[in-house]
Symmetry: C2
Subunit: 284 residues, 2 copies
Amino acid sequence: MPAATTVPHSVPTSVPNSQAPSQAVGPAPQGRAAAGAGEAAPAFSPLYQQIKALLVTSLQAGEWQPGQAIPSEIELAARYKVSQGTVRKAIDEMATDNLLVRRQGKGTFVATHAEAGTQYRFLRLAPDASTPAGLQRRLLDCRRMRAPAEVARLLALKAGEAAVQVRRLLLAAPAEGAAPLPVVLDDIWLPGNLFKGLTAERLADWRGAMYRLFEAEFAVRMIRAEEKLRAVAASAEDAAVLGVAAGVPLLSVERLSFTYGDQPVELRRGLYHTAAHHYRNELN
Amino acid sequence: MPAATTVPHSVPTSVPNSQAPSQAVGPAPQGRAAAGAGEAAPAFSPLYQQIKALLVTSLQAGEWQPGQAIPSEIELAARYKVSQGTVRKAIDEMATDNLLVRRQGKGTFVATHAEAGTQYRFLRLAPDASTPAGLQRRLLDCRRMRAPAEVARLLALKAGEAAVQVRRLLLAAPAEGAAPLPVVLDDIWLPGNLFKGLTAERLADWRGAMYRLFEAEFAVRMIRAEEKLRAVAASAEDAAVLGVAAGVPLLSVERLSFTYGDQPVELRRGLYHTAAHHYRNELN
DNA sequence: TAGTGGTCTAGACCACATC
DNA sequence: ATGTGGTCTAGACCACTAA
C-alpha cells in the first residue's frame, strides 16, 4: 500500500478509472492513484468528484468558517496534485450546490445564511403586493424536552433523546407604518445534543437570521431542505396566536433541513396565513 | 464592417471582450469577432453565452424537435468556429436549465416533457404514503372564449383576445384497485392564437402528458414556471367537483408557465386536495 | 502591482452506445 | 470500429479587486 502520492482517498491503482494522465504525450506524468483503503463513496468516481468530497469533508470539519475564503484554486490544485481545471470543476459544482460562493477577483467563500440571499434563504414567503417588506420576529417559546416520537424519527434521534423546541412568530406590516400582523407561526425542533447552549434569551437577543446564529454559535450549517406543503384548517390555539378565526385555511409547511452528509438537523412546521402573502416557487 | 468570419451575432471588433485567442502565443489565431449589427443580448458577453443564445434561437426556431439530437459538440464547434470546450460550456448550462439532455455515447437531445421526468415534470404532488401512484385524468371542459382581464394580463394578451380554457381533474386511487378519488382540479388558460386547433376531442384522445401534446401539436414548449401557493377554502362548486365538503382547506397553486424568451404561454390554477397528498419542494 | 476567479483553447484519453 | 459525451490537463489571457 505504500509508494503513493499524497492525494487522500484517491482511487485504487490498476483500475481503469478516470484516466491517470497518460505518460505518453502530455507533459505531466504526475503520479496519482493512491491505493486508498475502502472509501464510503462509490469507488470509481471522477477525480473532481473526489476533490469535491474532500472539500466537503474540510467544510464539515470546520477547517474554513462560513463567510471565510477557502484557499485559491491554484493552491488547492497544488495541495491535491491535480490541475487547476479539475479543482475548478469541483468548486463549480459546490457553488451550484450553494456550499461555496465565488467572487471574481476576491476568492471563493464558504456560503453563509442571511448574508447571501435577500435575508432568509429558505423562506419562500412573498407578499402579494410587490412590496419586499421586512419581517419582524417574535419569540414565543424555547424549551428543552424529550423529542416526541415523530420528531425523533425524522431527526434520526433515539427514542427519548433531548430536543429543543422553539416557537416563534413572523409578522408583517400591511402598510407603511401600520401595526404588523402575524403571518407565520413556526414550530421548530432541534437535536438537543447539537444545540446545548440554546436558550430563549440567546434567541431573543440575536439580531439576524436564526440559521446564522446556528452557524456562528453551534457550528450547524443548513445546506438544503425538503418541504411538504398542505392546506389545513386553523386550530383554535393556532388561530388565536395568528389572530385569525378558527378554521381559517392555513398553509402548512413542514420542513426538514439537512447539513453535510444528508444529516437531518432541524424539523420545522410553519403555518402560513396566506391572505396577503403567498408561497413562491420556481419550477425548472 | 466586412471581412469577418461566419459567427453570427458575434461581438463587435476592437472591443475588449472575452479575449479573442491571442495571436501572440496560442497556436490558434482563428479569426473571430464579426462586426455584428446590434444584438439584443448584452453587447459584451462571454463567447459561450453567445453560443448559448444562438442555440436557444435555433431551438425556438424549431431547427431541432423535442426528443431529437442536436449536432455533436465537434460539429457545433466547427459551425461556430470556437473550440469544443466553449460549446461544451454552453451546452452544460442549457442542460442544467433543462433545455437539453446529455446522454453519454449517444448525443445531446432536446428536452421533452413526460419522457424526461417520472411523468409530469412540473407537478410536485406526492402521495403521503410512499406509493408512487399513477394519476388518472378526466377532462371536464374545453372551450374558446375571450380572455378575462386578469388572465389576459398575466398571459400578456390584448384585451378581449381569444383564449382556450381547459378544466380537468386528476384522480388517484387510495389503495390498489380501489376507486380513484379526485385530488387536483386544474383550470388552464392558453393563448388562443397559439392553440388554434385545440379541442376537447383532441385533448380527450391524447395519451400522455398535456405538455407533450403542446410540444408535438402546437410547437409550444414549456421551459420553466412560477408558482404561487396559498391555502383557500373550497367553494361549493369546487367542493362538489372534488368530492369534498364546502369550506374544506385546499391548496391553491397558481402557475404561470413560460416558453423561450420568458414568454408566458400558460396560466394554470390548480386546487389540490391535500388530505392524502402533499406538495413537495426542495430547497437549496 | 499582484492575486483571484472567468474565459478560451488544444489535445489526450476514457466510458458508453451503436453498428 | 466509430462516434458521442465525460474527464483531465496545461497554458494563455482577461476582468476584477485590493494593496
